[in-house]
Amino acid sequence: MKPAPFDYVRAETLDEALGALAEGGEEARIIAGGQSLVPMLNMRLARPSVLVDVMRIDALSKIEPKNGRVEIGAGVRQVALERWAALAGTLPLVAAMMPWVGHAQTRSRGTVCGSLAHADPSAELPLALLALDGEVKLRSKRAKRTLPANEFFLGMMATAVAPGEMIEAIVLPAHPMGTGTAFREVARRHGDYAIVACAAIARPGGATRLAIGGVADVPQAVALPDPSDPDFDDQLNEFAWSLNARDDLHASARYRRDLVRTLGRRTVEEAVACRS
Protein backbone atom coordinates (compact mmCIF):
# COMPACT_ATOMS: atom_id res chain seq x y z
CA MET A 1 0.00 0.00 0.00
CA LYS A 2 2.70 2.47 -0.95
CA PRO A 3 2.70 4.64 -4.06
CA ALA A 4 4.91 3.62 -6.95
CA PRO A 5 7.88 6.00 -7.26
CA PHE A 6 7.12 9.44 -8.69
CA ASP A 7 8.76 12.84 -9.04
CA TYR A 8 7.30 15.64 -6.99
CA VAL A 9 7.19 19.22 -8.22
CA ARG A 10 5.96 21.93 -5.89
CA ALA A 11 4.77 24.77 -8.08
CA GLU A 12 4.97 28.26 -6.61
CA THR A 13 3.03 29.89 -9.46
CA LEU A 14 0.32 28.83 -11.88
CA ASP A 15 2.73 29.20 -14.82
CA GLU A 16 5.17 26.88 -13.12
CA ALA A 17 2.44 24.29 -12.58
CA LEU A 18 1.24 24.51 -16.19
CA GLY A 19 4.83 24.26 -17.43
CA ALA A 20 5.47 21.11 -15.39
CA LEU A 21 2.17 19.63 -16.58
CA ALA A 22 3.00 20.35 -20.24
CA GLU A 23 6.42 18.77 -19.82
CA GLY A 24 5.07 15.69 -18.08
CA GLY A 25 2.31 15.11 -20.63
CA GLU A 26 0.08 12.11 -19.91
CA GLU A 27 2.39 10.92 -17.13
CA ALA A 28 1.87 14.04 -15.03
CA ARG A 29 -0.96 14.60 -12.57
CA ILE A 30 -1.94 17.56 -10.43
CA ILE A 31 -1.99 16.88 -6.71
CA ALA A 32 -4.01 19.23 -4.54
CA GLY A 33 -5.37 17.98 -1.21
CA GLY A 34 -4.68 14.38 -2.22
CA GLN A 35 -7.77 12.91 -0.55
CA SER A 36 -8.92 11.14 -3.72
CA LEU A 37 -5.59 10.79 -5.51
CA VAL A 38 -3.44 9.44 -2.66
CA PRO A 39 -5.70 6.39 -2.05
CA MET A 40 -5.40 5.69 -5.79
CA LEU A 41 -1.62 6.07 -5.53
CA ASN A 42 -1.42 3.86 -2.43
CA MET A 43 -3.45 1.13 -4.13
CA ARG A 44 -1.44 1.72 -7.30
CA LEU A 45 -4.59 2.28 -9.31
CA ALA A 46 -2.83 5.44 -10.49
CA ARG A 47 0.88 5.54 -11.30
CA PRO A 48 1.73 9.02 -12.53
CA SER A 49 5.46 9.62 -12.92
CA VAL A 50 5.20 13.30 -11.95
CA LEU A 51 2.98 14.93 -9.34
CA VAL A 52 2.59 18.68 -9.58
CA ASP A 53 1.58 20.16 -6.21
CA VAL A 54 -0.57 23.29 -6.58
CA MET A 55 -1.36 23.89 -2.91
CA ARG A 56 1.30 26.57 -2.37
CA ILE A 57 0.03 28.76 -5.23
CA ASP A 58 -1.63 31.66 -3.43
CA ALA A 59 -3.61 32.76 -6.48
CA LEU A 60 -5.53 29.46 -6.49
CA SER A 61 -6.67 29.51 -2.87
CA LYS A 62 -9.38 32.15 -3.22
CA ILE A 63 -13.16 32.07 -2.86
CA GLU A 64 -14.36 35.08 -4.84
CA PRO A 65 -17.98 36.18 -5.00
CA LYS A 66 -18.68 38.53 -7.89
CA ASN A 67 -21.69 39.44 -10.02
CA GLY A 68 -23.94 36.83 -8.51
CA ARG A 69 -21.38 34.05 -8.98
CA VAL A 70 -18.83 32.47 -6.69
CA GLU A 71 -15.47 31.43 -8.08
CA ILE A 72 -13.62 28.75 -6.13
CA GLY A 73 -9.94 28.24 -6.95
CA ALA A 74 -8.20 24.88 -7.34
CA GLY A 75 -6.39 25.30 -4.02
CA VAL A 76 -9.50 25.92 -1.89
CA ARG A 77 -9.87 23.18 0.69
CA GLN A 78 -13.33 21.81 1.42
CA VAL A 79 -13.06 22.97 5.03
CA ALA A 80 -12.39 26.54 3.84
CA LEU A 81 -15.59 26.53 1.79
CA GLU A 82 -17.52 24.88 4.63
CA ARG A 83 -16.42 27.64 7.05
CA TRP A 84 -16.73 30.51 4.57
CA ALA A 85 -18.95 32.99 6.42
CA ALA A 86 -21.00 33.91 3.34
CA LEU A 87 -21.69 30.31 2.24
CA ALA A 88 -25.13 29.82 3.80
CA GLY A 89 -26.34 33.16 2.45
CA THR A 90 -24.86 32.81 -1.04
CA LEU A 91 -25.02 29.09 -1.76
CA PRO A 92 -27.40 27.50 0.75
CA LEU A 93 -27.51 24.24 -1.23
CA VAL A 94 -23.74 23.87 -1.01
CA ALA A 95 -23.87 24.80 2.69
CA ALA A 96 -26.33 21.94 3.24
CA MET A 97 -24.13 19.51 1.31
CA MET A 98 -20.72 20.27 2.82
CA PRO A 99 -21.15 18.28 6.05
CA TRP A 100 -21.83 15.21 3.86
CA VAL A 101 -18.58 15.50 1.91
CA GLY A 102 -16.30 12.77 3.27
CA HIS A 103 -15.40 13.27 6.92
CA ALA A 104 -14.03 16.25 8.85
CA GLN A 105 -10.65 14.49 8.69
CA THR A 106 -10.68 14.50 4.86
CA ARG A 107 -12.39 17.88 4.32
CA SER A 108 -9.45 19.40 6.21
CA ARG A 109 -7.12 18.51 3.31
CA GLY A 110 -9.33 17.73 0.32
CA THR A 111 -10.11 20.48 -2.17
CA VAL A 112 -13.38 21.34 -3.86
CA CYS A 113 -11.87 21.15 -7.34
CA GLY A 114 -10.01 17.93 -6.53
CA SER A 115 -13.28 16.15 -5.81
CA LEU A 116 -14.60 17.35 -9.18
CA ALA A 117 -11.46 16.17 -10.98
CA HIS A 118 -11.90 12.74 -9.35
CA ALA A 119 -15.55 12.69 -10.51
CA ASP A 120 -16.83 9.88 -8.34
CA PRO A 121 -20.50 9.43 -9.31
CA SER A 122 -21.55 9.24 -5.65
CA ALA A 123 -19.66 12.30 -4.47
CA GLU A 124 -21.55 15.39 -3.34
CA LEU A 125 -19.45 18.15 -4.92
CA PRO A 126 -19.89 16.94 -8.52
CA LEU A 127 -23.62 16.80 -7.76
CA ALA A 128 -23.51 20.39 -6.47
CA LEU A 129 -21.75 21.58 -9.63
CA LEU A 130 -24.34 19.93 -11.83
CA ALA A 131 -27.38 20.88 -9.75
CA LEU A 132 -26.31 24.53 -9.82
CA ASP A 133 -25.36 24.52 -13.52
CA GLY A 134 -21.86 25.59 -12.59
CA GLU A 135 -18.85 25.91 -14.85
CA VAL A 136 -15.31 24.56 -14.77
CA LYS A 137 -12.42 26.76 -15.84
CA LEU A 138 -9.72 24.64 -17.43
CA ARG A 139 -6.27 25.83 -18.30
CA SER A 140 -3.20 24.46 -20.02
CA LYS A 141 0.08 26.12 -20.89
CA ARG A 142 -1.36 27.19 -24.24
CA ALA A 143 -5.08 27.67 -23.79
CA LYS A 144 -7.98 28.38 -21.47
CA ARG A 145 -11.50 27.06 -21.82
CA THR A 146 -14.63 26.99 -19.72
CA LEU A 147 -17.01 24.03 -19.71
CA PRO A 148 -20.51 23.77 -18.29
CA ALA A 149 -20.97 20.97 -15.73
CA ASN A 150 -22.82 18.68 -18.14
CA GLU A 151 -19.93 18.79 -20.61
CA PHE A 152 -17.30 18.38 -17.90
CA PHE A 153 -18.37 14.97 -16.57
CA LEU A 154 -17.89 12.29 -19.23
CA GLY A 155 -18.44 9.13 -17.21
CA MET A 156 -17.60 7.31 -14.03
CA MET A 157 -14.41 9.02 -12.81
CA ALA A 158 -13.91 10.47 -16.26
CA THR A 159 -13.84 14.17 -17.06
CA ALA A 160 -13.06 16.40 -20.02
CA VAL A 161 -9.71 17.45 -18.51
CA ALA A 162 -7.12 16.75 -21.23
CA PRO A 163 -3.44 15.83 -20.70
CA GLY A 164 -1.53 19.00 -19.87
CA GLU A 165 -4.70 20.65 -18.60
CA MET A 166 -5.80 21.42 -15.05
CA ILE A 167 -8.85 22.82 -13.29
CA GLU A 168 -8.04 26.40 -12.42
CA ALA A 169 -11.33 27.15 -10.68
CA ILE A 170 -15.03 26.45 -10.71
CA VAL A 171 -17.78 29.02 -10.91
CA LEU A 172 -21.08 28.49 -9.11
CA PRO A 173 -24.04 30.81 -9.74
CA ALA A 174 -25.48 32.16 -6.49
CA HIS A 175 -29.21 31.67 -6.00
CA PRO A 176 -31.59 34.47 -6.88
CA MET A 177 -33.45 35.86 -3.85
CA GLY A 178 -36.26 33.63 -2.68
CA THR A 179 -34.89 30.41 -4.16
CA GLY A 180 -35.56 27.33 -2.05
CA THR A 181 -33.01 24.51 -1.90
CA ALA A 182 -32.75 21.18 -0.16
CA PHE A 183 -30.35 18.26 0.06
CA ARG A 184 -30.92 14.70 1.25
CA GLU A 185 -28.78 11.63 1.10
CA VAL A 186 -28.88 7.97 2.04
CA ALA A 187 -25.56 6.29 2.85
CA ARG A 188 -24.56 3.36 5.01
CA ARG A 189 -22.90 5.67 7.51
CA HIS A 190 -22.68 9.44 7.60
CA GLY A 191 -19.66 10.39 5.49
CA ASP A 192 -19.72 7.26 3.33
CA TYR A 193 -20.34 7.55 -0.37
CA ALA A 194 -23.99 8.18 -1.16
CA ILE A 195 -26.24 5.33 -2.28
CA VAL A 196 -28.51 8.08 -3.55
CA ALA A 197 -28.03 11.82 -3.07
CA CYS A 198 -30.73 14.36 -4.02
CA ALA A 199 -30.28 18.09 -4.49
CA ALA A 200 -33.33 20.21 -5.30
CA ILE A 201 -33.71 23.83 -6.33
CA ALA A 202 -37.07 25.61 -6.38
CA ARG A 203 -36.89 28.95 -8.16
CA PRO A 204 -39.20 31.78 -7.12
CA GLY A 205 -40.95 31.60 -10.51
CA GLY A 206 -42.14 28.04 -9.87
CA ALA A 207 -39.69 25.87 -11.81
CA THR A 208 -38.05 23.10 -9.82
CA ARG A 209 -34.93 21.13 -10.62
CA LEU A 210 -33.82 17.87 -9.07
CA ALA A 211 -30.29 16.52 -9.40
CA ILE A 212 -29.35 12.97 -8.42
CA GLY A 213 -25.97 11.52 -7.52
CA GLY A 214 -24.96 7.94 -6.79
CA VAL A 215 -27.14 6.29 -9.43
CA ALA A 216 -25.94 7.02 -12.98
CA ASP A 217 -22.25 7.21 -13.99
CA VAL A 218 -22.42 10.99 -13.72
CA PRO A 219 -24.79 13.19 -11.73
CA GLN A 220 -27.98 13.96 -13.65
CA ALA A 221 -30.60 16.68 -13.34
CA VAL A 222 -34.19 17.08 -14.48
CA ALA A 223 -36.72 19.91 -14.52
CA LEU A 224 -39.90 18.94 -12.70
CA PRO A 225 -43.31 20.52 -12.18
CA ASP A 226 -44.49 21.55 -8.74
CA PRO A 227 -44.89 18.50 -6.43
CA SER A 228 -48.62 19.29 -6.23
CA ASP A 229 -48.92 18.78 -10.02
CA PRO A 230 -50.63 15.47 -10.91
CA ASP A 231 -47.86 14.73 -13.43
CA PHE A 232 -45.07 15.09 -10.86
CA ASP A 233 -44.81 11.44 -9.83
CA ASP A 234 -44.92 10.15 -13.42
CA GLN A 235 -42.17 12.51 -14.48
CA LEU A 236 -40.05 11.65 -11.46
CA ASN A 237 -40.55 7.94 -12.11
CA GLU A 238 -39.49 8.37 -15.72
CA PHE A 239 -36.39 10.21 -14.54
CA ALA A 240 -35.63 7.45 -12.01
CA TRP A 241 -35.71 4.82 -14.80
CA SER A 242 -33.66 6.99 -17.16
CA LEU A 243 -30.72 6.86 -14.72
CA ASN A 244 -30.09 3.18 -15.54
CA ALA A 245 -29.43 2.23 -11.95
CA ARG A 246 -27.22 -0.81 -11.39
CA ASP A 247 -26.97 -3.40 -8.63
CA ASP A 248 -23.81 -3.23 -6.59
CA LEU A 249 -22.40 -4.15 -3.20
CA HIS A 250 -24.25 -1.34 -1.48
CA ALA A 251 -27.73 -1.43 -2.97
CA SER A 252 -29.87 -2.94 -5.70
CA ALA A 253 -30.93 -1.00 -8.77
CA ARG A 254 -34.53 -1.26 -7.63
CA TYR A 255 -33.74 0.20 -4.20
CA ARG A 256 -31.92 3.08 -5.85
CA ARG A 257 -34.88 3.83 -8.15
CA ASP A 258 -37.15 3.68 -5.15
CA LEU A 259 -34.96 6.16 -3.29
CA VAL A 260 -35.00 8.51 -6.28
CA ARG A 261 -38.80 8.46 -6.21
CA THR A 262 -39.33 8.82 -2.45
CA LEU A 263 -36.29 10.82 -1.37
CA GLY A 264 -36.45 12.84 -4.59
CA ARG A 265 -40.04 13.86 -3.91
CA ARG A 266 -39.28 14.79 -0.30
CA THR A 267 -36.25 16.83 -1.34
CA VAL A 268 -38.23 18.78 -3.94
CA GLU A 269 -41.05 19.33 -1.43
CA GLU A 270 -38.56 20.65 1.09
CA ALA A 271 -37.04 23.03 -1.47
CA VAL A 272 -40.50 24.28 -2.46
CA ALA A 273 -41.44 24.76 1.20
CA CYS A 274 -38.46 27.02 1.87
CA ARG A 275 -38.93 29.05 -1.31
CA SER A 276 -40.23 32.55 -0.67
Binding site: P3, I31, A104, Q105, T106, S108, R109
Partner: protein, 142 residues
Protein backbone atom coordinates in the same frame (compact mmCIF):
# COMPACT_ATOMS: atom_id res chain seq x y z
CA UNK B 1 6.88 9.14 1.03
CA UNK B 2 3.66 9.27 3.02
CA UNK B 3 3.46 11.36 6.17
CA UNK B 4 2.73 8.19 8.19
CA UNK B 5 6.06 6.71 7.13
CA UNK B 6 7.90 9.92 7.86
CA UNK B 7 6.43 10.07 11.37
CA UNK B 8 6.94 6.41 12.21
CA UNK B 9 10.09 5.44 10.34
CA UNK B 10 12.08 8.66 9.91
CA UNK B 11 11.12 10.40 13.18
CA UNK B 12 10.48 7.18 15.11
CA UNK B 13 7.29 8.43 16.76
CA UNK B 14 5.26 5.23 16.75
CA UNK B 15 2.21 6.56 18.61
CA UNK B 16 0.60 7.23 15.24
CA UNK B 17 -0.80 3.94 13.96
CA UNK B 18 -1.31 2.81 10.39
CA UNK B 19 -4.40 0.78 9.62
CA UNK B 20 -5.93 0.68 6.16
CA UNK B 21 -3.51 3.05 4.45
CA UNK B 22 -6.18 4.37 2.11
CA UNK B 23 -8.03 6.86 4.26
CA UNK B 24 -10.89 4.76 5.58
CA UNK B 25 -10.03 3.76 9.16
CA UNK B 26 -8.70 7.00 10.67
CA UNK B 27 -6.06 5.30 12.86
CA UNK B 28 -3.30 7.51 11.43
CA UNK B 29 -5.08 10.82 12.12
CA UNK B 30 -2.68 13.60 13.20
CA UNK B 31 -3.07 17.37 13.27
CA UNK B 32 -1.64 19.66 10.63
CA UNK B 33 -1.88 23.31 11.60
CA UNK B 34 -4.50 22.28 14.15
CA UNK B 35 -6.79 20.41 11.71
CA UNK B 36 -7.27 16.64 11.95
CA UNK B 37 -5.92 14.89 8.85
CA UNK B 38 -5.29 11.38 7.60
CA UNK B 39 -1.49 11.07 7.65
CA UNK B 40 -1.71 8.13 5.20
CA UNK B 41 -3.34 10.41 2.62
CA UNK B 42 -0.78 13.16 3.01
CA UNK B 43 2.50 13.19 1.13
CA UNK B 44 5.31 14.02 3.53
CA UNK B 45 6.56 16.57 1.00
CA UNK B 46 3.22 18.37 1.08
CA UNK B 47 3.50 18.79 4.84
CA UNK B 48 6.89 20.48 4.69
CA UNK B 49 7.14 23.51 7.01
CA UNK B 50 3.66 22.89 8.40
CA UNK B 51 2.97 22.35 12.09
CA UNK B 52 2.43 18.62 12.66
CA UNK B 53 1.18 17.35 16.00
CA UNK B 54 0.93 13.65 16.86
CA UNK B 55 -0.49 11.84 19.89
CA UNK B 56 2.91 12.22 21.59
CA UNK B 57 2.17 15.95 21.70
CA UNK B 58 -0.94 15.56 23.86
CA UNK B 59 0.74 14.95 27.22
CA UNK B 60 0.98 18.21 29.16
CA UNK B 61 4.18 17.06 30.93
CA UNK B 62 6.24 13.93 30.28
CA UNK B 63 4.47 10.90 31.68
CA UNK B 64 1.23 12.78 32.42
CA UNK B 65 -2.01 12.14 30.55
CA UNK B 66 -4.07 14.98 29.12
CA UNK B 67 -7.66 15.26 30.45
CA UNK B 68 -8.91 13.67 27.23
CA UNK B 69 -6.49 10.75 27.52
CA UNK B 70 -7.32 10.32 31.23
CA UNK B 71 -11.05 10.26 30.40
CA UNK B 72 -10.44 7.54 27.80
CA UNK B 73 -8.74 5.42 30.47
CA UNK B 74 -11.40 6.08 33.06
CA UNK B 75 -14.34 5.29 30.77
CA UNK B 76 -12.85 2.19 29.09
CA UNK B 77 -12.88 3.98 25.75
CA UNK B 78 -10.12 1.74 24.45
CA UNK B 79 -9.33 -1.91 24.44
CA UNK B 80 -6.59 -2.76 21.96
CA UNK B 81 -5.73 0.91 21.47
CA UNK B 82 -5.03 0.69 17.77
CA UNK B 83 -7.56 3.34 16.75
CA UNK B 84 -7.12 5.45 19.89
CA UNK B 85 -4.31 7.77 18.87
CA UNK B 86 -6.23 8.90 15.79
CA UNK B 87 -9.47 9.41 17.71
CA UNK B 88 -7.67 11.45 20.38
CA UNK B 89 -6.15 13.75 17.74
CA UNK B 90 -9.53 14.24 16.05
CA UNK B 91 -11.35 15.02 19.30
CA UNK B 92 -8.53 17.28 20.51
CA UNK B 93 -8.83 19.28 17.28
CA UNK B 94 -12.62 19.46 17.62
CA UNK B 95 -12.47 20.67 21.23
CA UNK B 96 -9.77 23.23 20.42
CA UNK B 97 -12.11 24.80 17.88
CA UNK B 98 -15.40 24.09 19.64
CA UNK B 99 -14.93 23.56 23.38
CA UNK B 100 -18.70 23.16 23.74
CA UNK B 101 -19.17 20.74 20.84
CA UNK B 102 -22.47 18.88 21.18
CA UNK B 103 -22.76 15.11 21.44
CA UNK B 104 -24.00 15.13 17.83
CA UNK B 105 -20.86 16.98 16.74
CA UNK B 106 -18.69 14.56 18.71
CA UNK B 107 -20.41 11.62 17.01
CA UNK B 108 -20.01 13.24 13.62
CA UNK B 109 -16.28 13.72 14.28
CA UNK B 110 -16.04 10.07 15.36
CA UNK B 111 -17.71 8.94 12.13
CA UNK B 112 -14.30 9.42 10.52
CA UNK B 113 -12.86 6.62 12.65
CA UNK B 114 -13.28 2.88 12.91
CA UNK B 115 -13.00 1.06 16.25
CA UNK B 116 -13.52 -2.69 16.33
CA UNK B 117 -13.16 -3.33 20.09
CA UNK B 118 -15.18 -1.17 22.41
CA UNK B 119 -18.12 0.07 20.45
CA UNK B 120 -18.41 3.80 20.23
CA UNK B 121 -20.59 4.47 23.29
CA UNK B 122 -17.70 4.51 25.82
CA UNK B 123 -15.71 6.72 23.43
CA UNK B 124 -18.53 9.26 23.29
CA UNK B 125 -18.87 9.05 27.08
CA UNK B 126 -15.14 9.70 27.54
CA UNK B 127 -15.26 12.64 25.15
CA UNK B 128 -18.17 14.23 27.02
CA UNK B 129 -16.45 13.61 30.37
CA UNK B 130 -13.21 15.21 29.16
CA UNK B 131 -15.15 18.22 27.96
CA UNK B 132 -16.89 18.60 31.34
CA UNK B 133 -13.57 18.16 33.15
CA UNK B 134 -11.86 20.89 31.12
CA UNK B 135 -14.79 23.24 31.67
CA UNK B 136 -14.71 22.60 35.41
CA UNK B 137 -10.97 23.25 35.58
CA UNK B 138 -11.41 26.54 33.79
CA UNK B 139 -14.14 27.64 36.22
CA UNK B 140 -12.04 26.66 39.23
CA UNK B 141 -9.08 28.61 37.89
CA UNK B 142 -11.16 31.74 37.37
Amino acid sequence: MLLTDLIRHAVGATGTHVGCEHGVCGACTVQIDGEPVRACLTLAAQAEKLDIRTVEGLEPRPGELSPLQAAFREHFALQCGFCTAGILMSLDALFARKPKASEREIREQLSGHLCRCTGYAPIVKAALAAQAHVREEKTTDA
